[in-house]
């Protein structure tokens, strides 16, 4: 099977490390790869959209799982699909939308694999009602350290350790997913503006139940009375009768034809995203949003994955890369959220991809990130002076409020804080010690945080 030595980073392009990239194309090759990966172990990797070091393994093996890209079976009546772990959500949408089905959960990009979606237990704009990705997994096949393949079903310890387990319990080979029925490939979207953080939280709290999908883009550079001003976009899959009669969309309501712009150039200088440029962008983005607009039809790409239109958009941060910071604090901790947003606004972090969302009920994954509460995600250029200590300070506030940060985005958390954020961490370690006593599955993230 193909193997090469390569420098590997996450989507944030920080902390590169060198590993042997191995691309198994069959189960047998995957088993062979795990059995022969050597003293420094291996870790499965999908499309590399985790921001930090979750899918890196310095000096060892990285299993590029995108070779297991077969959609094996679709139940078009019951709405389930059985597919290889390396199948992307993009591919699933291409295959499933014409049949009237949609993936149960999609994050801000379609370019993640099913295996990665389970490993990070990803969430989307529908978390408040639909939970995280693993809630919709009916079964999966997991290749463990001893080279055997287990059929894993929800409700078992192995399932709960694997959902959100960052690939450290084994290599997911296939998964069966429960799908979401849709009538069209368009979204019906309501947009509104919130003038400050309190207004935003009030609107999200009162309105979210009426929408399947809900998220708010938040301007973290706005200060003073405008701190936390935001644009809410909420909606659902459009029914056929919402499409204009006689239109092209009405004739072919399930068409899925996402366009892509040229990729971002390879060698952009750092320092393009400054307080000034991002501040101007944020101002414009806020002003151009309507105060209130209902029932606008948007494509799936525009609503869920606007950044997927520009391949390699992460290059705009230049060589220094960027850090994503996402945390959640529970309901009742609104004061902590306000304090943190105030701190970020006062610190003037140039963040243009900041998002606030309400989470619904948690799923049972031991290291699964979502729990009921408020989640804020933001991106910051890694070269920003003093960023490390500043994020450490935010960690302290998040931890003190009983919250946690998201491992799929982390590249810098202080390891001492982890056990407080993830109470099932000891169970996770114990299960790994039993399932994988030689430590075959290991990643840079696992080394850094002693997972």
């Amino acid at each position: 099977m193909p193997a090469e030595t390569a420098s590997v980073t996450g989507w944030g392009r920080t902390a590169p490390s060198v590993a042997r990239l191995i691309r198994p194309r069959t189960y047998e090759e995957a088993v062979a790869a795990v059995r022969t990966c050597g003293a420094r172990g291996g870790i499965p990797r999908g499309l590399g959209r985790a921001y930090g070091d979750a899918a890196q393994n310095a000096g060892g093996a990285v299993f590029d799982m995108t070779g297991l890209d077969r959609v094996h079976a679709i139940d078009a009546d019951g709405g389930t699909v059985l597919c290889g772990a390396g199948v992307s959500l993009h591919r699933l949408m291409e295959v499933l939308l014409p049949l009237g089905w949609f993936v149960p959960v999609t994050p801000g990009t379609r370019y993640v694999t099913v295996g990665g979606a389970i490993g990070a237990d990803i969430h989307g704009k529908n978390h408040h009602g639909s939970g995280s990705f693993s809630r919709h997994v009916l079964a999966m096949e997991l290749l463990t350290a001893d080279g055997t393949v287990h059929s894993v079903r929800p409700g078992t310890d192995l399932f709960d350790a694997t959902a959100g387990g960052m690939g450290l319990t084994g290599v997911i080979l296939t998964a069966t997913l429960q799908l979401q029925p849709v009538q069209t490939s368009l979204m019906s979207v309501d947009t509104e503006r919130a003038t400050d953080l309190d207004d935003l939280m009030a609107r999200l709290t009162t309105g979210d139940d009426h929408y399947r999908y809900s998220v708010a883009w938040i301007d973290l550079l706005a200060r003073g009375a405008a701190t936390g001003r935001a644009v809410l976009t909420r909606g659902d899959h459009a029914p056929v009768d919402a499409l204009p009669a006689g239109s092209r969309a009405r004739r072919d309501p399930l068409a899925f034809r996402p366009g892509r712009l040229p990729a971002a150039p390879r060698h952009l200088p750092g320092g393009l995203l400054t307080r000034r440029s991002v501040g101007a962008f944020n101002e414009l983005w806020y002003r151009r949003a309507p105060r209130l607009r209902r029932g606008e039809l948007q494509t799936i790409t525009a609503f869920f994955h606007p950044l997927d239109g520009v391949p390699h958009w992460n290059r705009i941060y230049g060589r220094g890369g960027f850090v994503q910071y996402q945390f959640v604090v529970g309901y009742g901790q609104e004061d902590a959220l306000r304090r943190i947003v105030d701190r970020i606004a006062a610190r003037r972090c140039p963040s243009f991809l900041a998002v606030l969302k309400r989470f619904g009920d948690a799923d049972p994954g031991w290291l699964s990130f979502p729990r009921p509460g408020w989640t804020l995600a933001m991106d910051v250029p890694a070269a920003l002076p003093g960023l490390g200590p500043f994020l450490d300070e935010l960690d302290e506030q998040v931890a003190a409020a009983g919250g946690r940060v998201y491992l799929a985005k982390d590249s810098r958390l202080r390891p001492e804080l982890l056990a407080g954020m993830y109470p099932r961490l000891e169970d996770f370690r114990a299960l790994r010690a039993e399932l994988d006593p030689r430590g075959v599955f290991v990643s840079d993230l696992a080394r850094r945080l002693s997972l």
Partner: protein, 251 residues
């Protein structure tokens, strides 16, 4: 592992009593470093360094290491790497010698060269191979502006640092694509025990300033760091001054 800002969790100091190295270690312990190995000759000064860093909150261990005894480097450093990954190796040993005395005593001059250059070649290669095996890590080499152009006043020390500097640059190029990052640090006159009693040169700096520059260099994955930064320009100019003029400069 290093984090997104290049901050190490484990540190190996070669030359465990170097003031610059200890200032760097203190700074890194305040960030992410939890494990520190101090490699050096057993001495009260080394014990003192251990106590100091422990007081700052690190798990500090020592390993007997003598730059003048290259045959033992493989074993001494092998022991450290066998205990776990090392994210940052700080090659900090070096002696200044006494120029006037050493000019009359070639064996003393050779000792400077053997420590600063030959010892570093050996330890640098051993550390580089271990880092390469683990697929990540930084090797930070403390060079000196004295190696940039030999001066009448300290050319024995300067020539040893010139050799070290050229070696470290080449090593950095050789390790491209292996995941190992080599950073050459060129401080100017640093106020330490080693330079106590010497007339202070212009743009003199402190161990803490060097530590700050190292932290910044790690974040930027720099290959060369000057401390203070303006020395890069100054030395670039001095390098091109004609010999006859350079000889008479009060530097």
């Amino acid at each position: 592992m290093k984090d997104a800002f290049g901050l190490p969790q484990s540190l190996l100091v070669l030359g465990g009593t170097s003031e610059i190295a200890l200032a760097t270690a203190r700074r890194l312990i305040a960030r992410r470093t939890r494990t520190v190995w101090l490699a050096g000759r057993p001495s009260p000064a080394l014990d003192e360094a251990v106590q100091d860093l422990r007081a700052h909150g690190a798990d500090v261990r020592t390993v007997a290491f003598d730059a003048l005894d290259p045959e033992t480097h493989e074993e001494a450093l092998g022991k450290v790497f066998a205990e776990g990954d090392i994210d940052l190796v700080l090659l900090a040993f070096g002696i200044l010698g006494d120029q006037a005395h050493d000019e009359r005593d070639p064996s003393a001059a050779v000792r400077v060269a053997r420590t600063n250059y030959i010892g570093a070649v050996s330890a640098g290669l051993v550390a580089a191979r271990a880092l390469q095996t683990q697929g990540h890590g930084s090797l930070v080499v403390l060079s000196s502006v004295a190696g940039e152009r030999a001066r009448r006043a300290n050319f024995i020390y300067g020539s040893s640092k010139a050799g070290l500097d050229a070696f470290a640059q080449g090593l950095g190029d050789a390790l491209q694509g292996t995941g190992v990052h080599v950073m050459v640090v060129r401080p100017g006159f640093v106020r330490t025990r080693m330079t106590a009693g010497l007339p202070e040169a212009p743009l003199a700096t402190t161990p803490e300033a060097v530590a700050t520059a190292i932290e910044l260099g790690l974040r930027r994955r720099s290959e060369t760091v000057w401390v203070p930064g303006v020395l890069r320009v100054v030395m670039s100019a001095l390098r091109h001054v004609p010999r006859g003029v350079f000889r008479r400069l009060p530097v």
